[in-house]
C-alpha cells in the first residue's frame, strides 16, 4: 500500500488469546466499513479465531486475556521471544481484568464452588506485564476498534502512539451529557483514562474504569467528591475493583 506517496510494507501480525472472553479480538472484525482497507495493511500470520493458517513468523503480537494457568506462562514467553512489538490488548491483558475478581476468593473454595471434587488447575489472575515486558497497552473492555486502527496504523507508519492522558470526563463534557454524579451515581469518569468516547456515560450508565487510571487526574479529590455528595463509598470501591485497573490506588487506600 502507499501512504503519502511512500510504499509501506504490510505488517506481519498475530493475535493470541489467554484467559478472556475473546471480545477484544472480535473487535478486529468490527467496523466493517473500513475492514477491507484495514486488512490491506496486515499480513495475518496467526489468528486462530478466524483462520486455520498458523505461522510463527510475526512482528506484532496482540495478546488478549489475563494469565491464570501455568501453561499460559510458557505460551506467553514463547510469543514474547518471537514478537518485536507485544501489545497488551484489552483490560484483562493490561490489568488482569474482571478475572481478577476471583483473586479475593481462596483457590480451593473457587474450584469446589464450580467443579465440586474435580481437580482443576488455576492461579490468581495476573496482567501480562507481570510475566513478560509489554511494548504497548490498548486498554478497554472491549478495546475500541477506532483506537486499535489508529495504533496499528501508527506502528505501520512509524508514527508515535499516544493514548490520551486526560480522563473520560473531558470527552463526556464535550458530548454535553448530564453528569451522572448530578443524578446521584458514583461514576469513575473523573479518574479513568479517556479514549473510549465516553461510551458508558453517554448511554447513561456509569464508567466502571475499564481503561484504568488517567495520567492527569486527582484521585484524592475524586474520593472527596464522592464523600461530599454523600454517595456510597462501598459502591465506589466495588466499581474501582471491577477491572483491577485501580489496584495500586486501592492498595494505597486500605
Amino acid at each position: 500500500m502507499n501512504h503519502l506517496g511512500f510504499k509501506i510494507d504490510k505488517v506481519k501480525i498475530a493475535s493470541f488469546d489467554f484467559t478472556c472472553c475473546e471480545g477484544c479480538q472480535l473487535q478486529l472484525a468490527n467496523k466493517e466499513s473500513t475492514l477491507p482497507a484495514f486488512l490491506g495493511l496486515l499480513d495475518i500470520r496467526n489468528f486462530r479465531e478466524i483462520s486455520s493458517e498458523r505461522n510463527d513468523d510475526y512482528d506484532i503480537a496482540l495478546v488478549e486475556g489475563s494469565i491464570t494457568r501455568s501453561d499460559e506462562i510458557e505460551r506467553l514467553k514463547a510469543i514474547r521471544a518471537q514478537a518485536k512489538v507485544l501489545v497488551a490488548f484489552g483490560s484483562c491483558a493490561c490489568f488482569g481484568g474482571v478475572n481478577s475478581l476471583k483473586n479475593k476468593i481462596p483457590r480451593e473454595e473457587a474450584v469446589r464452588g464450580v467443579y465440586g471434587d474435580k481437580a482443576v488447575e488455576t492461579m490468581p489472575s495476573t496482567k501480562i506485564s507481570d510475566i513478560v515486558p509489554v511494548d504497548l497497552m490498548i486498554p478497554g473492555c472491549p478495546v475500541s476498534k477506532a483506537e486499535v486502527e489508529r495504533i496499528i496504523v501508527g506502528v505501520v507508519t512509524r508514527a508515535p502512539n499516544n493514548l490520551p492522558k486526560y480522563p473520560v470526563c473531558v470527552d463526556c463534557k464535550q458530548k454535553l451529557n448530564t453528569c451522572l454524579f448530578d443524578l446521584g451515581e458514583v461514576c469513575l469518569g473523573p479518574v479513568t483514562k479517556a479514549g473510549c468516547d465516553a461510551v458508558c456515560p453517554s448511554g447513561k450508565t456509569v464508567c466502571l474504569g475499564c481503561r484504568g487510571p488517567a495520567d492527569d487526574m486527582n484521585f484524592p479529590s475524586f474520593i472527596q467528591i464522592v464523600k461530599e455528595k454523600g454517595l456510597s463509598l462501598d459502591e465506589m470501591l466495588e466499581k474501582l475493583a471491577f477491572y483491577n485497573g485501580f489496584a495500586d490506588y486501592l492498595d494505597h487506600e486500605s
Partner: protein
C-alpha cells in the same frame, strides 16, 4: 485396506475458545473420538457472589465477547424475576431488538468467517475476499447491520452499556430507529446474495438422532424467556432449568457436559427451529423449505442453514419492532425498584442456544448465589458423540485421515461453539 491413523487437532481454529479433537483409528476401526475443552476457567459464578444486582449484568456480559447481550439480558431477567421488577413494554422491545442485532452479528460472523472457508477449501475468509469479494461483502453488510442494531439499542456492539435492571437506561432516538429501518430495507439484497451463495455449498449428509432443547412460548419465535421444551416431548418451567441440563464433569474437559432424555442433547439455531418452526416469519419459512430444512432435522451440519433461516426471521421481526418503537413516546423505559431477597432463573436464546442464569439475592440486593449454564456446555456431549458416529462412518466409507479430519472440524464448527463462554 485396513488403515491406522491418529488425528490430533490442538486448539481447533475458527471457533471461539480453545478445544481439541482426538481421533484414533486402528485396523480400519475407530478406537476413540473425543471432544476436549481445555479452556482456562474464570469462575464467574464465584465472582458474582457479593456483587450488587445492579452491577451483575455488567459482570456476566464479560463471560462472552460474542454473545454479551444475551448474558446481560439473562442476568437482568433472572434478577428482575427474583426481585419482582416489571420492566416497561418499550424497554422489552428495545431489548428484543438488541437480541436480534446480536444474533444477526453472531450468525453472520459464523456463517461467513468461520464456516464458509471449509466449504470453499480455504483457510480463512481473507482469501475469499479476493476470490469472491461479493460474498464476503454481503457477509460484512449483514454483520455490520447486526452490530448497528446492537449499538442503537445498547450503546455498543460488544458488552452492552444501556441494558439495566428495570429496563434500559437510554432509548434509541426516533431518528436512529428510522435510519436503522432504512438500513434493514437496503440490506435485504445482501441477505439474498448470502442465501444464494449457501445454496451452492455441499452440506454433508450425516444424521445422528438426538434431543433438541430450546425455549418455547406458544406466541412467537423465542428469544427471551418461556418454557423449556425438547423434541422428545419434555416441557418444563423456566425455573426448573436444572432438570433440563443435569450437568456432569468428565476427566478430559474443563467444560461440563449435560443430558436430558438421551446420552446427549443439542441447543442452538437448529434446536430453536425444530421446536418453533411454525413461529418463523414468511420469508424465513420459504428459505427453510427451499433448503429442504424440515422439523425435526437431525443433521448437525444443517445448523448452518438454520442460522441463515433465522437471519431472514430477524429481518422481518426487527422491522416490526422498530415500527412498534416509533409509535411509542419512549418516555417510560425504566422501572424503579427496591432491592429485595429473592431467587429465580432467567433463560434467553443466545445465538448458540438456550442460556440459563440463576441467582439468589439478599435483602440488600447483593447476589449471594449464582449459576450459569451456557449453550455450548449443552452441546459438548452432542459434539462428542457426533464425532464418534461421524468418524466411524468416515472410516467405514474409506475416507483418508485428512478427509476425516476436515469433516470432523466442520462438524464441530457447525455447532458454532463458544468455548470460553462454556468454561466461564
Amino acid at each position: 485396506m485396513k488403515v491406522d491413523f491418529n488425528i490430533d487437532i490442538h486448539h481447533l481454529p475458527r471457533v471461539e475458545g480453545h478445544g481439541n479433537v482426538h481421533i484414533s483409528v486402528k485396523n480400519g476401526k475407530l478406537e476413540k473420538a473425543q471432544w476436549e475443552v481445555i479452556e482456562t476457567p474464570r469462575f464467574f459464578e464465584m465472582m458474582l457472589r457479593g456483587v450488587s444486582a445492579e452491577r451483575a449484568s455488567f459482570l456476566t456480559s464479560r463471560i462472552c465477547g460474542i454473545c454479551s447481550i444475551s448474558h446481560s439480558l439473562a442476568s437482568i431477567r433472572t434478577l428482575e424475576r427474583a426481585m419482582e421488577i416489571d420492566p416497561p413494554e418499550a424497554a422489552n422491545a428495545v431489548r428484543l431488538l438488541a437480541m436480534h442485532g446480536e444474533t444477526l452479528q453472531s450468525h453472520a460472523l459464523h456463517l461467513f468467517f468461520l464456516a464458509a472457508p471449509d466449504f470453499l477449501d480455504m483457510p480463512s475468509a481473507v482469501p475469499i475476499l479476493h476470490a469472491h469479494p461479493e460474498i464476503v461483502k454481503a457477509g460484512l453488510l449483514l454483520k455490520e447491520l447486526g452490530n448497528e442494531m446492537s449499538v442503537a439499542t445498547t450503546g455498543r456492539a460488544t458488552h452492552p452499556v444501556s441494558l439495566v435492571l428495570g429496563g434500559v437506561s437510554k432509548a434509541p432516538s426516533k431518528q436512529r430507529l428510522k435510519e436503522l429501518k432504512e438500513m434493514i430495507r437496503k440490506r435485504h439484497s445482501a441477505l439474498e446474495t448470502a442465501t444464494d451463495f449457501f445454496r451452492t455449498l455441499a452440506i454433508p449428509e450425516f444424521v445422528r438422532e438426538t434431543e433438541f432443547i430450546s425455549l418455547h412460548n406458544g406466541k412467537d419465535y423465542p428469544f427471551i424467556g418461556g418454557d423449556l421444551v425438547s423434541t422428545d416431548g419434555v416441557v418444563r418451567d423456566e425455573n426448573d432449568y436444572l432438570l433440563m441440563t443435569n450437568e456432569y464433569t468428565t476427566d478430559f474437559s474443563t467444560s461440563k457436559f449435560t443430558r436430558v432424555s438421551r446420552e446427549s442433547s443439542a441447543a442452538g439455531a437448529l434446536a430453536r427451529f425444530n421446536n418453533n418452526t411454525r413461529y418463523l416469519g414468511q420469508r424465513a419459512n420459504e428459505v427453510a423449505e427451499s433448503f429442504g430444512l424440515e422439523a425435526v432435522c437431525h443433521n448437525p451440519f444443517m445448523n448452518n442453514i438454520a442460522q441463515l433461516v433465522e437471519c431472514h426471521h430477524i429481518f422481518e421481526s426487527a422491522e416490526t419492532l422498530i415500527d412498534r418503537l416509533l409509535n411509542d413516546d419512549l418516555q417510560h423505559i425504566r422501572t424503579a425498584y427496591e432491592p429485595r431477597a429473592g431467587e429465580a432463573t432467567g433463560a434467553v436464546e443466545a445465538p448458540r442456544g438456550v442460556l440459563y442464569h440463576h441467582m439468589e439475592t439478599d435483602k440488600n440486593g447483593k447476589v449471594v448465589k449464582a449459576d450459569c449454564i451456557i449453550p455450548t456446555t449443552q452441546n459438548n456431549a452432542n459434539i462428542h458423540y457426533d464425532l464418534q458416529a461421524l468418524a466411524a462412518e468416515a472410516v467405514k466409507a474409506g475416507k483418508t485421515d485428512r478427509e476425516t479430519e476436515k469433516l470432523c472440524e466442520m462438524l464441530v464448527r457447525s455447532y458454532d461453539p463458544c468455548i470460553s463462554c462454556s468454561v466461564h
